[in-house]
Point group: C2
Chain length 346, copies 2
DNA sequence: TTGAAAGCGCTAACAT
DNA sequence: ATGTTAGCGCTTTCAA
């Protein structure tokens, strides 16, 4: 059909109206020092001429790209979509766009993401640290460059940046306590990589809950996996000979694998082994039996992370002050997999 | 710690080495007309001085942003993650980045996404049309502006752009045929919005499969929903009084809702009602019984869509020629929900 | 309130 | 093979 249209610039509008380009720029950006008349005239002309602002040029000149870079590990699918949604909500309210990168839990990809964001001159980065990342220099560099960084879910104290995380300890404590209240006494735990703070906190919550209820911690009932369906199944198979009556799994994929192993062994859930996961993945409520879990308020997490970023950007918080850390309180969701009320134990 | 570092530009490197900025630019971009010696010297200096190229400036000057905008509806979670992954793979191979937008199946958000991409001067757009979008002018405008557009999964003939889609007709035909081969004769269909080409094709595949096997199409056994768990449940409840012995659901979320309705009615799957979905969502294989479905090769879809974009970009295909359309053949996955082999029908 | 002028950092003609 | 020059489209002093 038509050939690529010539692009209208503010200069075209300026010529059309016999004003300076600067005036057009000011009018379009609602600069205070502009008369109502010119502003409206300019905006009308822009609409009429189908003007599309060139954000690239604007960014180069102003030094602000109005883009937030977001790094997500992406393994936890549900988590992913929903946190992003929260971030986008707050971002668009502030006239910002979101550039997304999946690290796939790989250190190298995470480094590349940071690099790309720096080169693209994003105004800030929101990130959830990959499970593989132990060296965090790339994040420290961001901070050194003066690019606001906010962590969500997977944070790390050493970076000294604002973060919004879930109280993993409390979630694990509550989940374990719930199993105890259901009458379980031989409660196993399938943990994750212990260098990931979240997983370590969940282990601690589990141990403390047992202690508080005077149940001895049996190290044999604690096994560590790689946080996947397959790994959950393997870990559960190691636990089965030890005859646990309940399992607290580090998250829902692990719990799912464990459930499969339990079913394959011909045991009943929850009558013979009760189970609870963590993260409230989308599939959890549709399993048979439906999986009890810990809900993380993921969308809220995204919103809060974005809000922290804008506070940083607008210098509402001093860069000297200790970084703000927001801790969201998780809530356990009891479903069939751990509900023994009214059931006769076998 | 340190204050925001001053940023190194090619001019700094040029001064350091007593060459012109253009030379530095050429060296860094592996321009052919540059001596090995200078190229290496420049690259070494860049590394040493910790130079970070300013993509914004480069984009403004060159007119290329090296960014692909991707619009996804995002409802189908699994689809989402996996197509993006395919796109990113090919993009990064071509030194391109991906800017992501979720339309949430809303026409207005989709328009906003296109707008943002235009303003951000992305080099091209890959999109999956939202279920709500009937007016497609925003996409036509993209094309008119000379910005390459490639559609994936949800395409539309009228746009006349390259696309990679799944053979929905064949998938539906195969799924229905499979149910027939299992011995089912009263096969119901829960369809989606018929203005979405994919859903219409699936209806046609269903009808033709019945015809080919000399089974009369009973209009009462076809109900239309809104493609969600809740809608699937409602539709199934409408179908139950008609005593179908099988259901082909337009996709897995719908099938999941239908399964719940069937279970709540106290009927056995697949013995009394067999069911198959479409899309192979992540949760489908973990349901009880596991859900038969149609697999769409989502990652491949992303790769091919990105490849079509680069063909367009590099003018490997004429813009005058009819746009290329790639049709991926889906494959049915038979799981418990439709497997009647060896089972005695009740 | 508006205009003139400069320049963000880079790339691409053109010249040498 | 390298340098010179101009300019992408916009914002932001500074001046009027």
């Amino acid at each position: 059909m038509s050939e690529p249209t010539v692009r209208i610039t503010i200069l075209d509008i300026a010529r059309e109206l016999n004003v300076a380009a600067a005036t057009v720029s000011r009018a379009l950006n609602d600069h205070p020092a502009i008369s109502d008349a010119t502003r409206e005239a300019v905006k009308a002309a822009a609409r009429r001429m189908n003007y599309q602002p060139n954000k690239i040029a604007s960014s180069l000149r102003s030094g602000r790209s109005k883009i937030i870079g977001v790094i997500i590990p992406s393994a936890e699918i549900n988590f992913f979509g929903s946190v992003i949604h929260g971030i986008e909500k707050v971002a668009s309210r502030n006239d910002y766009n979101v550039l997304l990168y999946q690290s796939n839990e790989l250190y190298e990809l995470e480094k590349k993401a940071v690099q790309t964001f720096v080169n693209s001159r994003v105004d800030g980065v929101l990130a959830s640290i990959s499970k593989e990342s132990i060296n965090l220099k790339h994040y420290a560099d961001l901070k050194a460059k003066g690019i606001p960084l906010v962590l969500f879910d997977r944070a790390h104290e050493s970076l000294q940046v604002p973060a919004v995380v879930v109280n993993d300890y409390q979630g694990a404590f509550d989940a374990t306590t719930h199993l105890i209240q259901q009458g379980c006494r031989r409660i196993a735990h399938i943990g994750g990589q212990q260098h990931v703070a979240n997983f370590n906190q969940r282990l601690r919550g589990y141990i403390d809950a047992l202690n508080v209820h005077n149940i001895a911690v049996d190290d044999d009932l604690i096994v560590y996996g790689k946080v996947s369906i397959e790994s959950g199944r393997e870990c559960m198979n190691k636990l089965l000979p030890l005859l646990p009556d309940a399992v607290f799994a580090v998250e829902d994929f692990t719990a799912l694998g464990a459930m499969q192993a339990i079913k394959e062994a011909g045991l009943q859930i929850p009558q013979q082994i009760a189970i609870i996961g963590f993260a409230n993945e989308m599939f959890s409520e549709y399993l048979t039996p439906s999986l009890s879990t810990v809900n993380q308020h993921t969308e809220r997490m995204g919103e809060e992370a974005a809000a922290l970023f804008f506070d940083l950007l607008h210098k509402k918080v001093s860069l000297k002050a200790p970084p703000r850390k927001l801790v969201l309180e998780p809530a356990i969701i009891v479903r069939q997999s751990s509900n023994l009320q009214g059931l006769i134990r076998s």
